[in-house]
Symmetry: none
Subunit: 211 residues, 4 copies
DNA sequence: TATGAATGAGATTTCATTCAT
DNA sequence: AATGAATGAAATCTCATTCAT
């Protein structure tokens, strides 16, 4: 069902090499951008020959899609892993904000790539992550619904707006791990050097607001 | 005091032409991205010769900085214009969200360009808008302070977090005017075709939450 | 005595496989041209591995020469088969034109390949078919000689020119089976859709002219 | 009405340079073939930079079409120039065969290019010369008609076949100037070193045959 | 000052050939 | 002997920048 952007050759090589290449691509794409990334750099960083890249992916665009697809499934896995239907609203928000923060810190280049997908110039890749965004939407809606059911969220609150706000906050936190500008902005609000505390502080704040 | 990125020649041409060039550059940069924009396209769109571009700006990077600087001062003007220290918190949020939305709708390419500046690949331009972000921060802090003073915001609310949240929401609304992906995400929350109502709905929601 | 362009390995594989490979090569060379043909395509079309091709033929050029040599001997066989020293001039011309037409229709890619050999860029392969051309010359000279002897050709006719003309006509007919342009040209003369009747019509015409 | 394959830039440069580039392209295409010709070689041979070539022609294919178009109009001019409706059949054939021979000798690379167009691999360019072929057809039909009217051609002769034969012979003579293989073949018929006499000898032969 | 032709370094992509398994 | 992954040189095309007019 999932579309494959790579060639049969790519499926035949050792999975260790496959991972190495996709990680290198992810790193270069995150660093130099979709347009600025050079296949030769990815090849060098992955320790394969320039020509080999094109035996793994028909075109640069295909490689990009493959990296996005991998990023998506990694993210989906993490979402699923952090999902605990039994936890309370505040605990859930705290867990999700914290894990979003940690994952973004671990692979900031994937976040950079994700940021790129919002640009019109890269719109042709955006469809690749829509499913993930949809997934994320649903997740937040359910979290809000549970919060209302448990009384942790005021009944008068607009569900959709609350979900949007929570999603936007999580996204903003992640972006501040990948982007110097977003990080600077975050520090303007929480204080220089206090970024690390941001996920918890935001959790407290948002939980308080919604009650 | 402000740094000039253009040449003396650029100052000698009619201001109408100057505007035309900067607007064309803005449009092309927003559409094709910082890396993907071509000087020849800007020239063609502005109705000047390709060669002239380099007599106005020493390099492409300089032209980009000039466009960003112009975007910044436009934005600063608007901020100043919409500032009404006498208005209440709710009214201020509504006005700012709405005007952010309208301005983004009017010049989405400036928003696109602004989005680009969060990417690491374009980090060398980010310092150009930091002053504006700082300005925006201060503004939201003052708005929150007024809200607390007037009792429209609960005393227990974390000031910094509230300001961050309001800023993030305003930014998110603006971005959804320039990016198909962000627009799709907004519609996932507020419902397809209901994007237009988003600024008011977000205002209502956030005002309710902070009370 | 004949030069071998293939390796010893090629001689050890089943003759069925050998044929399959040479036919595939012929097809690909005819379709994509000598320069444009890709070894990988030949391999795929023949159902052997890419690498094997180079264990059968040291280089692409060798493979091409092998294909040409095979085409030559096929053609020589057919020449010999259609040779009937006892037949009259008109009957001989008719038979040869018709069989040239039919053979070209059956394996147009061999004709394409033969056409390629007239190009300067492929001159290095031309020596491979000179013997065949020489053979063809001799054959036509003999046919003309028989025609004169039997009185079917006017004594005043220039033998060499007549033979050249007959050979050129036969060649032209064959080429029109492989080349869209040559076919279009033939139809300009004989009428659209009437190409199939061309061999007989040309036979009648040329027999009438030489009498 | 005529389609232009070059850019506006190409029209702005000195006509001397334009000619130089098209001639260089023609030479390289004739020598290395359509697929084998390299833009860098054309550029070097014309004394312009590699990059400039792409400011004159959007793509290599466009350059090829431009060269073909130029070859066509040169050829059409010559056709028109050698047209003498008042001349007798034999004189016309002699003039046309001779001028075809001379022109082919003067610019063999154009003939090579023309030969290339018969290959399936180059079929996408063939439509560019169909008008010329059509023109040539009509011309030979008229020549044959005049020959019949003046009694120089036997009434029983098949008009279409005669025209086809004359056209094929002219083409064959031209091709033998560009192709070593075709030249060798011609010499097999007329005798080594006697190629130069071929046009006249063929004229005599064909005039005799058709009477 | 304005123009637009010219340049060349650099990016993607192709493919004959090699070689480890 | 067979396979197919790996290689890297080379080809087309792009575009910021320069420069003669």
């Amino acid at each position: 069902m999932a579309i494959r952007y790579h060639t049969a050759t790519f499926e035949n090589i050792p999975s260790e090499k496959r991972e190495r290449i996709l990680r290198a691509a992810s790193r270069v794409l995150g660093r130099d951008g979709i347009g600025g990334a050079r296949m030769a750099d990815v090849a060098a960083e992955a320790g394969v020959s320039h020509g080999s890249m094109f035996s793994y992916f028909p075109t640069k665009d295909d490689m990009i899609r493959a990296v996005i697809a991998r990023g998506m499934s990694l993210q989906a896995e993490r979402f699923a892993a952090s999902d605990d239907e039994g936890a309370g609203f505040a605990a859930t928000v705290r867990t999700v904000f914290r894990s979003a923060w940690d994952e973004a810190s671990a692979e900031p280049e994937l976040i950079s790539l994700w940021l790129s997908l919002s640009l019109v110039e890269n719109a042709r890749f955006a469809d690749a992550i829509l499913p993930l965004e949809r997934d994320s939407t649903e997740r937040w809606r359910r979290v809000v619904a549970r919060g209302k059911a448990s009384g942790e969220i005021d009944q008068g609150i607009d569900d959709g707006a609350a979900a949007y706000l929570l999603d936007a906050l999580a996204a903003q936190l992640m972006k501040s791990r990948a982007s110097g500008l977003e990080r600077a902005k975050l520090e303007l609000f929480v204080g220089t050097g206090l970024a690390e505390a941001a996920p918890d502080r935001m959790t407290d704040a948002v939980v308080a607001m919604l009650r």
